[in-house]
């Protein structure tokens, strides 16, 4: 039976939703007179879903037919689900009309593998060509590279897309073998490497690339994961690694039995740690070690690092360098810039920090202002940890009627 376009949209958006990447940032503004669309350097969110994730791109699959049989994937060959496919023309039309109504920043196009890898990539490429050449669309396009495609097709995609990516999905080859028997790390990284080298030929900056890892479906610890991310960043292969808490969509004997809730907290901690790698100049082995291979779930990784390295603290807000300020838990990159700017004019105390709208809720345990330490707990890691996890409750005096012998005062019985 032919499916109508609404049902297709339902099926193909539903199949793509587990990919977390939705950012459209980092592309220079590129508008052209008389044409449609432009990218924006900072990401613009156009709406938020009921689970609180931002929607900035039309994130769909070209098709959810697939010849692969990856255990964690809803679209695996052996699943009995509704299948559909957009034609390149249909998808290009929807993208343009969504863009004109300001629903989206652009397109995030991924696909199941139909017939074979090259055929699928050609269909994606056709969509891109309609958008770029026929509709003169200059907005953002992110394309998922199909592992195992011909290099020449990848070259063409790299020339037309703003960003490309390929999901590593699982942090080790062993896990891939178990859950995604058609994929190997080699096969997944190959199009990324090729895309980087190709884009470097024409430009000094490699094309923005990202990947996604599934967390909690396989036994790797946080150290394995962060080490992998940090290697990928160092080789300039990737701009961003996304972590996706494993959500069970299939029954498979190789997958963890029953997970009641996706490991969201672990995912959150990994993002925090990833942030430290990218913007705070931490190396992965400062955050996780042989001794503690997993991130502390109770504390964010920066606080956790600080408590293990109390000898650097407390830091004097008015004296320490930019790099040191960046290491203070609770103070972010923006906070650091505000402090540096304000410091030029006067030496700061806690009131000034408040005025600058820097929250000292967490930072108070790790800083002094003009030599003064203001946290109400003694400076040692156990008490600080205690105070952060369970902030001291304000004691409310609530006299019970039976505390005092009223009758003695009022004469009542």
């Amino acid at each position: 039976m032919r499916k109508d376009i609404y049902e297709k949209m339902q099926i193909l958006a539903n199949s793509a939703k587990y990919d977390v990447s939705c950012s459209s940032s980092g592309s220079e503004n590129n508008h052209k007179t008389g044409e449609l669309g432009a990218t924006h350097n900072s990401s613009i969110c156009h709406t938020f879903t009921a689970d609180g994730r931002c929607v900035s791109l039309l994130k769909v699959l070209l098709t959810n037919f697939c010849i692969y049989d990856c255990a964690y994937c809803i679209n695996r060959k052996s699943n009995d689900i509704k299948r559909a496919a957009f034609s390149p023309r249909e998808l290009a039309d929807i993208t343009i009309n969504f863009y004109k109504r300001n629903y989206i920043e652009g397109l995030f196009l991924s696909s199941g593998i139909i017939d074979n890898e090259d055929h699928t990539m050609v269909l994606i490429l056709r969509t891109l060509k309609i958008l770029r050449y026929e509709y003169h669309f200059n907005g953002y396009i992110h394309v998922k590279l199909i592992p195992g495609t011909d290099d020449r097709l990848i070259d063409e995609v790299v020339a037309l897309a703003n960003r490309v990516s390929s999901n590593i999905e699982l942090p080790s080859d062993k896990s891939l073998k178990l859950l995604a028997p058609n994929k190997t790390k080699e096969k997944i990284l190959q199009p990324l490497k090729h895309a980087r080298d190709k884009s470097l030929e024409n430009d000094t900056k490699p094309i923005g690339m990202s990947t996604q890892l599934i967390i909690g479906a396989t036994p790797e610890n946080d150290k394995d994961i962060l080490k992998l991310s940090s290697v990928l960043y160092d080789k300039a292969l990737l701009k961003r690694v996304y972590y996706s808490a494993y959500i069970p969509v299939n029954d498979d004997r190789n997958l963890p039995a029953i997970v009641n809730k996706p490991p969201l907290l672990r995912e959150h901690r990994l993002y925090q740690a990833d942030w430290l790698l990218r913007f705070y100049d931490f190396s992965y082995d400062e955050i996780v070690s042989e001794e503690f291979p997993n991130l502390d779930e109770e504390l964010d990784p920066k606080t956790s690092w600080a408590l293990h390295n109390l000898s650097y603290f407390p830091m004097e807000i008015n004296k320490v360098s930019k790099d040191e300020l960046l290491r203070i838990p609770g103070i972010g990159v923006r906070g650091v810039f505000k402090i540096l700017k304000a410091r030029k004019f006067k030496s700061l105390d806690f009131e000034d920090l408040k005025k600058l709208k820097i929250s000292i809720k967490r930072a108070q345990y790790f800083i002094t202002c003009k030599g003064k330490y203001c946290a109400k707990v003694s400076f040692c890691s156990d008490t600080i940890k205690q105070a952060i996890i369970e902030p001291p409750k304000k004691r409310v005096i609530q006299p019970s009627l039976f505390d005092i012998d009223y009758s003695a005062i009022t004469g009542e019985l």
Partner: protein, 243 residues
Amino acid sequence: MILIYDKTFEGFLTLVYDVYYEKLKPNSIFKQKPNKLILEEIKQIQTNEIKATKVLEAIKNKFSKKAFQTILNIFMCDNDDFEVDLLNFIIIGFKDKNELFNINNSSIFYIQNLEKQLFRANHKMSGFLRFEELEDNTLYAKLESRFNLCYFLGKHFYKRLNNQNYIIHDINRKLAFIKDGTSIKVENIASFEEPNLSEDEEKFKRLWNSFFEAVSIESRKNEKLQRDLVPLLYRTYMTEFEN
């Protein structure tokens, strides 16, 4: 002392001139005569083009391009009660333009924060604004906002919808940014009729709603978070929240 000016940029520049040359020390600046009985001295500023031009030239010469832009932005966002702080901002800038970065000064801090709020509201609206296609293919968007964003949004979409005609209509301020062919202007709109939508409009609205529902993950549902991220205030004209 209380100063009253006529709400226009020229009026405000004249006010700056008078404050400077008559050494006035205003406590508050109003846009119209207060109804209440006030014991303080009240002075009405007479808008004067020559004075205004002088001050404008002086600001352009003395201030950095960025600080000049800040002054324009603050004036354009037409928030209540920015005048005294903006006046202080300008006076400080004339004395020593480096002091304009001293966020320890309350007026400068206020102005910088107000500008940030304006940018934030503008950034949000640049994502949350929704166009509808009219019969003649013009794109039409309605807007309600604390700040006067017409001009800023109009500029933003000029880059994106360069080959389209569009209208951004600020319902409360009765203003509209109109791009028609190569001409762009901000106009007062006294009254308007609900325009007719194009044939395709219903189809794409339905497709968008169907997409929006499909991408949400049931097991991670968190409507409180959603409300924090898209406050109800912004949802009035958003297609996906219409029901």
